[in-house]
């Protein structure tokens, strides 16, 4: 089985730009998560989808972060506009009925 795919692996953006990160979950998984990872804050949940329905939108991240599940096998995370403090690794994970999460390799975002 293919694991979780994330593209791009690296992204460099200028402050104020719009960027879109992409994720393909494990086939057959109903749950999809977006996380932000930094050394200081650790793993922060941005969005949680179940069967394409948004279960959690990450509270403090609602302003400039928008995750969507375009279909059961593709999700995007849009950051608009980007700020330097958004520099982090963005992880996508999917989960099946056993509640075990499968993580992608992450996208490393640098905002100048």
């Amino acid at each position: 089985d293919a694991g979780v795919t994330q593209t791009p692996r690296h992204e460099v953006a200028e402050k104020g730009q719009t960027i879109i990160l992409k994720c393909e979950p494990v086939s057959g998984h109903n749950d999809l998560f977006w996380y932000r990872q930094t050394k200081i804050q650790g793993l922060e949940l941005l969005s949680y989808f179940r069967s394409k329905s948004l279960m959690e939108d990450g509270g403090a991240f609602k302003d400039r972060f928008k995750a969507e599940m375009l279909n059961s096998s593709f999700s995007t995370l849009k950051i608009q506009p980007t700020e330097p403090k958004d520099s982090a690794v963005y992880l996508c994970a999917s989960r099946g009925t056993d509640y075990e999460q499968y993580f992608g390799p992450g996208t490393r975002l640098t905002v100048l």
Binding site: G42, L43, M55, Y99
Partner: protein, 114 residues
Amino acid sequence: AQSVTQPDARVTVSEGASLQLRCKYSYFGTPYLFWYVQYPRQGLQLLLKYYPGDPVVQGVNGFEAEFSKSNSSFHLRKASVHWSDWAVYFCAASFPGGNYKPTFGKGTSLVVHP
């Protein structure tokens, strides 16, 4: 509130020594519990998982963990650490009362000395 705590930000051990990484959770019932490992520049990978049943669970690469309801803990252990175990370890829980939303601890960075 439901939470997961890893009290040790960093643990240093010598290669060949035994290891215990601590994890405590806060929840009135019994959550599903997980340990994940993250190697540099990679995503997280599952080491082992606990569903209600036998309190000691075995994972990959010689890792095991023990669930204790009385202590609200799920500590990770390994009898003999290898240099390749140098990584960050995350404890996580999914709580049945909270849409099974996963909650992660802040991670413990394991450093292995030769």
